[in-house]
């Protein structure tokens, strides 16, 4: 009886029947194409679910605006903050005035223009770090989980070492040490990637281990599929969802971490622009002139919020159990 494919919406004979689980109600997959059908329906169900979430739509709109802001900042402001002539020291910390809606900072530069131009570094650092950690951690996790044995033992021990170092401290150490190496924002990306890849590794590995024990993988093995084929054709598609969820949520975290490092003076360096740097610059006279600090702070928060919301929405859609 247990070999019979469970007809989709027939309730289990227990209390586990809940509203959420019914979300994935779909016709029973045909026996032979079970795996393909299941992962396809996971994504199509998730997509169906996502499109109906205001949080998802809202975060996408915010992210779209941020992307435009990063690559075409001149659409938002006519002032080029990298041009020193736009700053006027005598007007330092002036409040909002016409043409300078956010006022001016401690050097008399336009806060609005700088805030707009600050988006670029946050987005670039956030996105590249996410991609690097997802690829490196994901690939290593896939290999460790799929091969097991010594490979797994060694990589797992190494990740434990990284887990023992609070990431902001580790990143601080790296950026502080190599800040003269003129790597620019890439130093931040490298530092954050070094500290964060074990997170993706662990999740990918766990997901692969779960998938590895499932019948269709055992069957593929038994039928003589090569290791690479099993890994990329069978294990990866079934393990990639949790990695995507965590990567999205981490993206927001990386942006916040960049701001923190820049604030501490070891992230993005002047004359380049970063919200963290702007906050650090404005902090000394913050109590008298809060605006130069408040605006980058608000942009920073909204940006992080956008990515965390996106991650939350994606997670809820892919893992409907715990809504």
């Amino acid at each position: 009886m247990s070999d019979m494919p469970q007809a989709g919406p027939v309730p289990q004979d227990t209390q586990t029947l809940t509203t959420d689980e019914k979300a994935t109600a779909s016709p029973p997959p045909a026996g032979g194409r079970k795996k393909a059908a299941r992962s396809a329906s996971l994504w199509s169900d998730a997509w169906y679910d996502l499109r109906r979430r205001p949080m998802f739509i809202f975060s996408l709109i915010l992210i779209a605006i941020l992307l435009v802001m990063s690559f075409w900042p001149s659409l938002f402001t006519s002032i080029n903050p990298f041009d020193a002539r736009t700053c006027e020291l005598s007007t330092a910390r002036q409040g909002p005035s016409s043409g300078h809606p956010f006022g001016r900072d401690s050097l008399g530069c336009d806060v609005f223009a700088r805030t707009i131009y600050g988006a670029k570094n946050s987005i670039i650092i956030g996105v590249t770090t996410t991609v690097i950690t997802a690829l490196v951690g994901g690939l290593l996790g896939l290999i460790a989980g799929a091969r097991g044995g010594l490979t797994d033992t060694i990589t797992s021990r190494v990740t434990e070492v990284f887990f023992a170092i609070p990431s902001i401290l580790g990143a601080l150490l790296i950026t502080a040490t190599f800040r003269d190496a003129s790597l620019g924002i890439w130093l931040v990306v490298i530092a954050l990637s070094i500290l964060a890849w074990p997170m993706t590794f662990r999740i990918m590995r766990a997901a692969v281990l779960t998938a590895r024990g499932q019948d269709f993988v055992l069957a593929a093995r038994a039928l003589g599929a090569s290791q690479a084929r099993v890994m990329f054709k069978h294990l990866l598609p079934n393990a990639v969802a949790p990695v995507i969820v965590v990567a999205t949520i981490n993206l927001g975290g990386f942006i916040a971490a960049e701001a923190a490092l820049s604030f501490l003076g070891v992230g993005v360096q002047s004359p380049d622009i970063s919200w963290g740097l702007m906050i650090a610059d404005a902090r000394n006279r913050f109590l008298e002139a809060p605006l130069p600090l408040v605006f980058p702070a608000v942009f920073l928060s909204v940006t992080v919020l956008a990515f965390i919301m996106l991650g939350d929405a994606v997670r809820d859609a892919l893992d409907p159990k715990l809504r």
């Binding site: 209390q15 586990t16 809940t18 021990r157 190494v158 434990e160 070492v161 990284f162 887990f163 023992a164 170092i165 609070p166 902001i168 401290l169 580790g170 601080l172 150490l173 790296i174 502080a176 040490t177 190599f178 927001g252 916040a256 701001a259 923190a260 604030f263 501490l264 003076g265 070891v266 963290g276 906050i279 902090r283 913050f286 109590l287 809060p290 600090l293 408040v294 702070a297 608000v298 920073l300 928060s301 992080v304 919020l305 965390i308 919301m309 939350d312 715990l322 809504r323």
Partner: protein
């Protein structure tokens, strides 16, 4: 249980050595000569450079240097000297208390607020209260410490003081006892509060779905007893685990909070060490924070065994 504890202890050793070696290597494997970097524009007498290099074991291979350092740390509690000759241990001694106070205040706030909100949300799952609590955790997670720090400083520190006429929350320094730690403690705990709230909610919701909860109901127990005794006792396991492990993370996060609130802890000292390029201070402080982190995790493993008999009798 004894075997479990011993295994955890043994497992912690390579992690500890690996992490400290990583820190040490990053900072001291730098290209260039730290002594000359320290001297800056001045030209030092080659003899003096040689003496200093010798004193700091800079001519030895990295692993040997590391060995000198780590054995000093564990055998004598000696974290080395700054390039100016001040003992790093002494520098940290008075300041670690401030950071510990801050982390503990944050931990207590996290535990109280996180658990209360999480339970409340779990018991009102799917209703307006739940949605409101989840939305506020989203906000807490999204707004970086950097921002909450300054915003609360301005709002609860300055604005409130002007409104009520006296200082409710000090915004800088650690001179007013517990009061000085309230605002920075909350700022430091912010993200953790949100995560603990979510974890508590998830954990209880999941527990309340398990079969033994159904059994407890079938035994004719009151809802209060089913949730409070059978549910909570099980949901507690991941919550306590998270809380314990978070102490180390909170101390690590103190560097931002202490910088914002000018609290003279090791976080602020770390910031200054970075600023002044005093590698021995930076390595010393990061090492001690990593040690705290590892020890906290070990304690959590023990607690875990106490709370979960399935682990205890493994």
């Amino acid at each position: 249980m004894g075997r479990y504890i011993i295994r955890r202890l043994i497992q912690a050793i390579p992690v500890l050595l690996g992490a400290t070696l990583f820190i040490f290597a990053i900072v001291f494997a730098l290209p260039g000569d730290p002594v000359e970097a320290l001297a800056g524009e001045k030209r030092l007498d080659p003899n003096i450079v040689a003496i200093i290099r010798d004193q700091y074991h800079l001519n030895d291979p990295l692993l040997l240097q590391y060995w000198y350092y780590i054995s000093g740390v564990f055998l004598h509690g000696d974290f080395g000297k700054t390039f100016a000759g001040v003992s790093v241990s002494q520098l940290m001694a008075g300041k670690i208390q401030v950071t510990l106070n801050l982390a503990l205040v944050a931990l207590v706030m996290e535990a109280v607020i996180g658990v209360v909100l999480g339970l409340w949300a779990a018991l009102r799952r799917g209703r307006a209260t739940d949605t409101a609590i989840l939305a506020s955790t989203l906000l807490l997670i999204s707004v970086p410490t950097l921002v909450t720090g300054f915003v609360l400083q301005l709002w609860l520190g300055v604005w409130l003081k002007q409104t009520v006429g006296f200082e409710v929350f000090p915004i800088a320094g650690a001179t007013q006892g517990l009061k000085s730690y309230l605002l920075p403690g909350f700022v430091l705990a912010g993200t953790s509060i949100a995560y603990l709230t979510r974890l508590t909610r998830t954990s209880l919701v999941e527990t309340l779905r398990s079969d033994y909860i159904r059994t407890a109901t079938a035994k004719g127990l009151s809802r209060r007893r089913v949730v409070g005794r059978h549910g909570l006792r099980n949901a507690l396991i991941p919550m306590v685990t998270y809380l314990g492990a978070d102490l180390g993370a909170l101390m690590g996060g103190a560097v931002i909070t202490e910088t914002i609130f000018n609290l003279p802890g090791i976080g602020l000292q770390l910031y200054q060490g970075v600023y002044l390029r005093e590698q021995p201070i930076v390595v010393g402080i990061v090492t001690i924070l990593v040690l705290v982190y590892i020890v906290a995790n070990l304690v959590v493993d023990m607690l875990y065994a106490v709370l979960d008999p399935r682990i205890r009798y493994e």
